[in-house]
Amino acid sequence: AQSVTQLDSHVSVSEGTPVLLRCNYSSSYSPSLFWYVQHPNKGLQLLLKYTSAATLVKGINGFEAEFKKSETSFHLTKPSAHMSDAAEYFCVVSDPGSGTYKYIFGTGTRLKVLA
């Protein structure tokens, strides 16, 4: 069975400082992993995805994430936060090998960026 845990429900950073949003997953197969962002009253937008290619994945707006199988983690980072990064972030796991094409969402991390 798949599951995903986002370790922090809220993260606050100052503008210009690094961002770290933590995600751990559980999967019976070789997982695909995603980070989505949701701005207030907006739909979900894909930031980046890991699908068993390079373990360091670069996404949009300067975000990147590293797949670490030994730690079952897929943490999202950004070197320097911008005010526009304030949003809700969701880590998502999928098990393509299971044949069900299910996507399981974490509970979300709300990122606050302080001026």
Binding site: S32, K42, G43, L46, F90, Y101, F105
Partner: protein, 116 residues
Amino acid sequence: EAGVAQSPRYKIIEKRQSVAFWCNPISGHATLYWYQQILGQGPKLLIQFQNNGVVDDSQLPKDRFSAERLKGVDSTLKIQPAKLEDSAVYLCASSLEVGLYTGELFFGEGSRLTVL
């Protein structure tokens, strides 16, 4: 390429009334999902279609919720009768699986339901 279309964007109803949401996925996408997102929570899968067949509806409250996907394209999600706890955003998503690598989910803007 047109995205996932959903309507209506907003709906306010009284409890015990009925409501229907419509979704048109990206052309050619075989798999369609309906998620419920309650304020402050992550999306929860309600039902998943592969073409016009149901793959997973284990978390769909079948006493009040129903969904169909006609001809493997458009989908409709219905709630009858609505309860206060159904107030949420209903998200439709579609995906195109290629080989073993799961493609990303493409989301619509969502339909926000308020039950009074």
